[in-house]
């Protein structure tokens, strides 16, 4: 049984945004965790897996890939960082 559909706003940054051709979109997704969101939007951001170098935030808080997402959440998908 798939999880119920939730309204999730997904934000793409840097290479993910360029690949998606869009910075943000609101989707109806059957997802339980941040990792599910990453995988359901794979064709958009183009990355195959949330490896150790990608990061995720939920509602402007850094999160884990196993963090639960709730209806109405905003999920931020971060490619590997490179400050400085």
């Amino acid at each position: 049984m798939s999880p119920p559909e939730k309204t999730i706003t997904v934000r793409y940054f840097a290479v993910f945004r360029e690949h998606a051709g869009i910075g943000e979109e609101t989707l109806s997704l059957s997802v339980a965790t941040a990792k599910d969101v990453f995988e359901r939007t794979r064709l958009r951001h183009g990355s195959s897996e949330p490896n150790g170098h990608c990061k995720v935030a939920i509602n402007d808080e850094m999160a884990d890939w196993s963090s639960p997402v709730n209806d109405g959440d905003t999920v931020l998908l971060f490619p590997p960082v490179a400050g400085g």
Partner: protein, 144 residues
């Protein structure tokens, strides 16, 4: 205090704000745009940052540095947008009673910033190509 700025960073002004009568040592680090990376000739850099989380994570980094290497005052500013070779991309300054804490806290802050804060760097090469740093294997179907 940590900031993101689209304007040029004024290192002298930032340093002046860290002056403290009990400070005997001040260490600063500056990241400059250089003309080469991994053997490729770089013409300019583009920085993108997600400011709300740069600020939030940056505050944590400064607090951690202060706990490990008690300093008197510290500040960090990261530039965003298009930068040319020689431009100042990031500035970290730490004032402390003795030099030990200033050096160590400054190093800790820049090391953590580079791996933890949501800031991305796109290199524009002199041959016209460009690429996001650390992202070779991010996208399966990148346009090249």
């Amino acid at each position: 205090m940590i900031e993101v700025s689209t304007d040029a960073i004024d290192a002298g002004k930032l340093k002046a704000e860290l002056l403290h009568p009990g400070a005997g040592g001040f260490c600063s680090f500056e990241g400059w745009v250089r003309n080469e990376n991994d053997g490729r000739s770089v013409r300019r850099l583009e920085y993108e940052a997600y400011e709300p989380l740069v600020i939030a994570e940056g505050k944590k980094v400064l607090a951690e540095a202060r706990q490990r290497f008690p300093y008197l005052a510290a500040r960090c500013v990261h530039r965003t947008g298009l930068l040319e070779v020689g431009d100042l991309a990031v500035w970290v300054g730490v004032a402390s009673a003795h030099r030990e804490e200033a050096f160590k806290a400054c190093r800790y802050i820049i090391d953590e910033i580079k791996v933890r804060l949501p800031i991305w760097k796109k290199e524009h090469y002199t041959n016209g190509d460009s690429g996001w740093v650390n992202c070779e294997r991010c996208a399966e179907h990148r346009q090249d």
